[in-house]
């Protein structure tokens, strides 16, 4: 996006142009399915039967939601397994190499929960986790500025947005009418702590709040990044695509806990 000129009208005109010609990035973060937590080595911490079913439902859900997608994944067994199952449902999928920066860890201290009484090792863990996971955040969260890649472009349907009730609408509606703007979808299969941290950072909320969120297995967390840099969260921890009796938060089942 061109830098601001100081002239408000000109800035507005440029912003509209960016919106019309630019690419909206849709980033969907998926937490892996339920896995065997009692194992020690990562290669043995793999999806349970239920976890595989969850991934399967998720693949089907994503297939109906999006097309022409890029799939990214952490370098941990349970995430790679989940990503494989999901990708098997999607056509025209680009698979990236697993990225260790997306591995689970402790991305930030937590409030409530703080850090004045934790052990040195936890602090060190957080320092490590934070650096790496913040790196991952910067790697995947940015506005599209380059020309869009042709093979994963999807033109938006030019739906008529309704601007009678502006207050309820995202900023994108008004400018999006018949704009023919482009959309890029990206799926990132990774882990609860990483997802919650990314959400806080993307929305520019204090990242120390990440543990106030709770993302179930195979939940969808969906962020849009407009070419102007505006970020919006369309869903957090969405598991409506799973039957209720397949919902887990690790070893907790259902919601009644």
């Amino acid at each position: 996006m061109p830098p601001t000129t100081g002239d408000k009208d000109e800035d507005r005109r440029r912003k509209r142009q960016t919106r019309k010609e630019g690419v909206t990035r849709h980033v969907i973060l998926i937490r892996h399915g339920q896995y065997t937590e009692n194992e020690k080595l990562d290669e043995n911490r793999i999806l349970t039967e239920l976890g595989r079913q969850q991934a399967d439902y998720t693949g089907r859900r994503l297939k109906e939601m999006i097309e022409g997608v890029e799939v990214r994944v952490s370098n941990m067994a349970r995430a790679k397994e989940t990503a494989d199952i999901i990708a098997s449902h999607l056509e025209g999928v680009e698979r990236s190499e697993p990225d260790s920066d997306l591995n689970e860890g402790r991305p930030s201290h937590t409030l409530p929960g703080g850090d004045s009484y934790v052990s040195k090792s936890t602090i060190e863990k957080t320092d490590d986790g934070h650096t790496r996971i913040e790196t991952a955040f910067r790697k995947y969260f940015y506005r599209a500025q380059d020309p869009p890649r042709m093979n994963i472009l999807v033109e938006s349907a030019s739906d008529t947005g309704d601007d009678n009730n502006i207050a309820e609408m995202d900023v994108t509606n008004i400018e999006n009418k018949n704009s023919g703007s482009k959309h890029e979808f990206e799926i990132i299969v990774c882990h609860a702590n990483v997802i919650r941290y990314f959400l806080c950072r993307a929305l520019q909320m204090p990242p120390e709040a990440w543990l106030r969120l709770c993302t179930f297995n195979c939940s969808l967390t969906y962020l849009t990044i407009r070419p102007t840099g505006t970020v919006s969260c369309r869903m957090l921890g969405d598991i409506g695509h799973l039957p209720y009796d397949k919902s887990t938060f690790s070893m907790h089942s259902g919601f009644n806990w």
């Binding site: 937590e37 859900r61 109906e64 939601m65 999006i66 689970e104 937590t110 409030l111 409530p112 929960g113 703080g114 850090d115 004045s116 009484y117 934790v118 040195k120 936890t122 602090i123 957080t126 349907a157 739906d159 947005g161 009678n164 009730n165 502006i166 207050a167 309820e168 609408m169 509606n173 008004i174 609860a192 950072r201 520019q204 909320m205 204090p206 990242p207 709040a209 543990l211 106030r212 969120l213 179930f216 969808l220 969906y222 505006t230 919006s232 969260c233 369309r234 869903m235 921890g237 969405d238 598991i239 409506g240 799973l242 209720y244 690790s250 070893m251 089942s253 259902g254 009644n256 806990w257």
Partner: protein
């Protein structure tokens, strides 16, 4: 210029400063156990750590709060709009929420119901009352009932006809009605539980205590359709009297700014207090006072001396059918995030936003804007369909 991004940087500085400030005296036993639970790579996940979640480690010392306090004298970017009224040149200071403790600290008494065993000191000393029981075992003292976790499911109404101004004409479209029915079905399944859970208390049944609703037609229609699904499943649920406190309006300033919204300042002035009142009314930990909820008494309400409450369901569910702006504001406030960020969220029609409030005052958001229960073809954000927009 102060910005939330710079707040993030400030927080990062505080990691190193707080590690310098850490005192490594004798740790309370509970903290050691909790830390052991956190040493797992995928912490917070296993059984041990789930109880840890309810017994949070104490918060940081003053160091963090000092660095995190936003400067009230922040200059606007170009200096021209800031005559002391605007924060960062972007929104009216007087309309901004002033938290009792600076972001990102957690206010333990956020709902005014903190007790000595749920204070910051109690959490620090590992004595926070995380269990639902009242531990008062004295004789001749009336034993209080078990406190429950409150599960609140906020449902945005279905798609509605936006063409006319008067509320009575702003009724659900046929798509909106389908959305409401599908949402009702989803909620009945949650309420009913299932025999298929491998190990789950009460088969995962979630007893829905009440359905609250705003006093606007589109919400009332949605609530009725939801209630109908319960009735069709022979499940009892009680739709409460419509509450105008939950009606839609702009609840708070919007950052990033929205110059396209006309009359925003006035609408916020007219409605903010009312919406904040709604928040305080519905969002608080369980205490011993019942709200004005009309449900018939059940045997579990009786005071009994039975020590064994393992069979008692310690969780209660309530549905609130209302509106996008209200829900997003409640989400921010419940999590003690700046409510000026509310418009960074996007709640589709008939989406579910789910928050849990523990008896010790801790709050957790399990989903925001969940629409996975709707058929893809029935997904809408007002006039926009699907996700490719």
């Amino acid at each position: 210029m102060f910005s939330f991004a710079s707040l993030a940087r400030i927080s990062k500085q505080s990691y190193s400063s707080s590690s310098r400030c850490c005192l490594f005296g004798a740790l309370p036993a509970i903290c050691v156990a909790a830390v052991a639970a956190m040493d797992n790579d995928d912490n917070y996940i296993n059984e041990e750590s789930s109880s840890f979640i309810r017994r949070f480690l104490p918060t940081t010392t003053i160091t963090l709060s000092e660095s995190a306090t936003p400067s009230p004298q922040a200059q606007s970017k170009d200096g021209s709009d800031d005559d002391g009224l605007l924060f960062g040149g972007q929104c009216l200071k007087r309309q901004m929420h002033v938290p009792n403790v600076p972001y990102p600290l957690w206010d333990y008494n956020w709902d005014g119901k903190m007790t000595s065993d749920t204070s910051l000191e109690a959490f620090r000393n590992g004595q926070a009352n995380s269990s639902n029981r009242n531990n008062n075992k004295k004789k001749n003292v009336r034993k209080k009932r078990t406190k429950k976790s409150r599960h609140i499911l906020l449902v945005r109404h279905g798609q509605y006809d936006e063409r006319r101004e008067e509320d009575i004409y702003r009724t659900l479209t046929p798509l909106g009605r389908r959305q409401a029915i599908q949402t009702g079905i989803r909620l009945t399944k949650i309420a009913k539980g299932s025999m298929n859970f491998e190990t789950c208390k009460f088969n995962g049944q979630c007893s829905v205590k009440a359905i609250h609703v705003s006093n606007m037609v589109r919400a009332k229609e949605t609530a009725q359709l939801i209630a109908q699904q319960f009735q069709d499943q022979d499940q009892k649920v009680f739709v409460q009297k419509p509450d105008p406190l939950l009606n839609e309006a702009l609840p708070a300033p919007m950052v990033p700014i929205r110059p396209d919204i006309i009359g925003g300042t006035e609408e916020i002035d007219e409605n903010h207090d009312r919406i904040e009142e709604a928040f305080r009314k519905y969002f608080h930990r369980d205490d011993d006072e019942d709200e004005d909820v009309t449900i018939p008494p059940t045997s579990s309400d009786k005071d009994d001396d039975d020590d064994d409450d393992e069979d008692e369901d310690k969780n209660e569910f309530e549905v609130i059918v209302c509106h996008g702006n209200i829900i997003r504001y409640f989400f921010c406030r419940a999590l003690q995030l700046p409510p000026e960020a509310w418009l960074r969220l996007c709640t589709f029609n008939c989406s579910i936003t789910y928050l849990v409030i523990r008896p010790n005052g801790m709050v957790s958001a399990r989903m925001m804007g969940d629409v996975g229960h709707l058929d893809y073809d029935d997904t809408s954000f007002s006039g926009l369909h699907g996700f490719r927009w």
